[in-house]
Symmetry: C3
Subunit: 208 residues, 3 copies
């Protein structure tokens, strides 16, 4: 089943998960800066690409360590899912930013900025929740962050749908297609935050 | 490995799985009523949203129970996948209905009604199959329903592709994009029914 | 945990995995032939559909065997994921070819041919890697192929994004939507090759 010990090897898993969550926050904040202050766009997107690569390497470290470890702080599948979900969060943030450059879109509208705010908030909740998994005493408190991440994901979904409706009403077809792809990537980023939250929740329920 | 006992706790898993399947049938029938009788659209979509929330709560009950149980009627991953797939079925049905309102589309065409019929049929097969998992004697019979669900999913896929071709031939671009999204959600609902069927099949193969 | 023995039953798993990989290569080469030599299109797409069905049956054989076996050459989840990823590779190749016919698109451009080349290369790497899993001595060598598949997947992703940009610049909206769907399916085929590579890598890391 599941055990929580404090062997250095196991502590390293927590270090990496927290590093991945912290990197997701930085990536989200870089996206927010991009859409709030629409200048030096290529440079800012380049920075987001670098943060995404940093996230990739954290994920690979977690997976490699998982394959080499016989004892893990919680279920192997949960750790693997966590590693890949954290990776997906930054991937989708990067895709959204990347499409803005590729499609040469103009100044992002309010919906995009709201979605960026939600992504930042969701990643921050993940980063707050992660360290609580280290100790049984704090583990239960993870559930509050999970509830908040679920709320944020629903909010992002509503923004996404409202944004699609506006697109069809106010834009020409090419912009509809381009922006829909960007909105989709942003909404997907919050979905992946929810995947992370679901693993956190499961670990807490199983161990707290 | 896998065991089938009849402790009350384990019976409860079957109760919840059957409740989820029954709710999926009701959601599918509400979609069929919406597209067959295109009146009181907002009210009917509201009803579908309520059914989707009912499905969410069943899923959460299954997952929470899974995290709390040491003995389960079949593999934990299978139960989790089942819970999430059942949830996805109603989510995609709701998305399809929701987009019809958001995009202010007109009267649904014959392809939409055929897809709704297929979704109803597939969910009904799931609801017929679920109780057969309770007893080893009836378990093998699940395979017939799985084969039928696979057949229905292929049918939906063909309808979807045929519908896309018509869209490009007969509609203006905005409608193409809007309806494609609706068709996609409907086709995805049948994919998720197949996911459920795959778990049923696996359980039957492992235990019958 | 994991064991590698050489009981006939276990050898059969490797036989099926290698058969699935070989079938993926044939399917990829059929797509390449279609886009390189744009003649007898319906016949060539029919051939790709047949290859996809052959892949389905390999996947079903693996899953059925998995459900019946108590001893497997490596983790059950890895074998199931492998079976489904191999299946997805040929599914996406078939979808891409199928849309070309359904949408009555014209002569494929250079980007499509490059993507087809990448898909062929990625499937060939899988086919080269698969037999190396049979023996601990050769297992480590799998990692080279995994690295190459990852490189090819990144290449496909870059081609895909560049192709999208061109689409918006050079085509009318209907073609944008049609070709984007085709490009997407082709890019997804390489993603699934990467899923296969990830399983190979995991097996090697755990056993070599």
């Amino acid at each position: 089943m599941v055990k929580l010990s404090f062997m250095p090897r196991e502590e390293k898993f927590f270090d990496l998960i927290e590093a991945g969550a912290a990197n997701a926050v930085r990536t989200a904040e870089a996206l927010k800066d991009l859409v709030d202050d629409w200048r030096d766009v290529p440079e800012k997107v380049m920075k987001i690409a670098d943060l995404e690569h940093a996230g990739d390497s954290v994920t690979h470290q977690i997976i490699a360590m998982l394959h080499r470890s016989f004892v893990t702080p919680f279920d192997r599948e949960d750790i693997a899912l966590l590693a890949h979900s954290l990776d997906d969060v930054t991937d989708f943030i990067h895709s959204a930013a990347d499409y803005m450059v590729l499609y040469k879109v103009g100044l992002p509208g309010p919906r995009v900025r709201v979605l960026a705010d939600i992504i930042v908030a969701a990643t921050k909740e993940m980063a707050i929740a992660a360290p609580k998994l280290r100790k049984t005493a704090t583990m239960k408190k993870v559930l509050e962050n999970c509830i908040e991440i679920n709320r944020l994901e629903n909010l992002a979904d509503q923004e996404y749908r409202a944004a699609l409706v506006e697109l069809f009403e106010e834009h020409e077809m090419a912009d509809v297609i381009k922006w829909r792809e960007i909105y989709e990537a942003m909404e997907s980023a919050t979905d992946r935050c929810e995947d992370v939250a679901n693993v956190f929740e499961g670990v807490a329920l199983k161990n707290a």
